[in-house]
Amino acid sequence: MTLVLEASLFVFLLVIAVAITRTKDLFAAAMLSGIFSLASAGLFTLLDAVDVAFTEAAVGAGISTIVILGTLSLTDPVEIRTRRPLLPLGVVLLTGMALVWGTLDMPAFGDASAPIHLHVAPRYLSESGAAIGIPNVVTSILASYRGYDTLGELFVVTTAGIGVMLLLGRGESRP
């Protein structure tokens, strides 16, 4: 059943991606990119990457849509095409093929003998419940084993937020 759900979401993603490249109405493209992020967030959740899915929903469907709309308010809402974009298409195809080629070296999905399952993961799985006291292993890794790392990320995010507020802020001194 999960397979059916994942396959349907992949079909949705494909349809949306083609539609985004084909449409000339930029507001429609903004809406479709929001839908794309939501569908991929659902797909990530089904694939058990809950944290990635949440980031995708927050950044893709939340902030990106708002930023795209903010950009759209400064430009013309209709895309103007002058020529067929053959060079970008070639670059995208090459990059995609390189990425697919790169995944060939990776261990198979769910392979129990993959390096990531053999190195520190068994220790986390067996000891983190008793050592940290958090039932979710991912949470205990992020919040405790890599606590300083997460703290640094929070600093980065806060700095980025301050930067965005300075850029977008409604300064009273503005003419």
Binding site: M1, V4, F27, A58
Partner: protein, 91 residues
């Protein structure tokens, strides 16, 4: 039962997607985005129960909050034509 629910949600998602692709007016697309985000939330909730992880319900609630904020931004844009400029918005 949950299987039927998820199939129904998938059908609704595809209908919303069709409306987002065709939808002649701006409001069709806004409604399609909102419907799609609601259905994503429902799909995650149903899939959580389907795979034995009802904790995903919390995740679905957070998604609702995010889509509400972005919906506010979209509606503000469609009404005023910009996002934060009160001087221009008053006109």
């Amino acid at each position: 039962m949950l299987e039927f629910a998820s199939i129904g949600i998938l059908v609704t998602m595809s209908l919303a997607l069709v409306r987002a692709l065709l939808g002649p007016t701006v409001y069709d697309r806004i409604l399609a985005l909102n419907l799609f985000s609601t259905k994503t939330v429902l799909l995650i909730a149903v899939a959580g129960f389907l795979t034995g992880r009802p904790e995903w319900l919390d995740l679905a609630l957070l998604y609702t909050l995010i889509s509400f904020i972005s919906l506010l931004a979209v509606l503000r844009f469609s009404k005023y034509g910009n996002l934060g400029d009160d001087e221009r918005a008053k006109r």
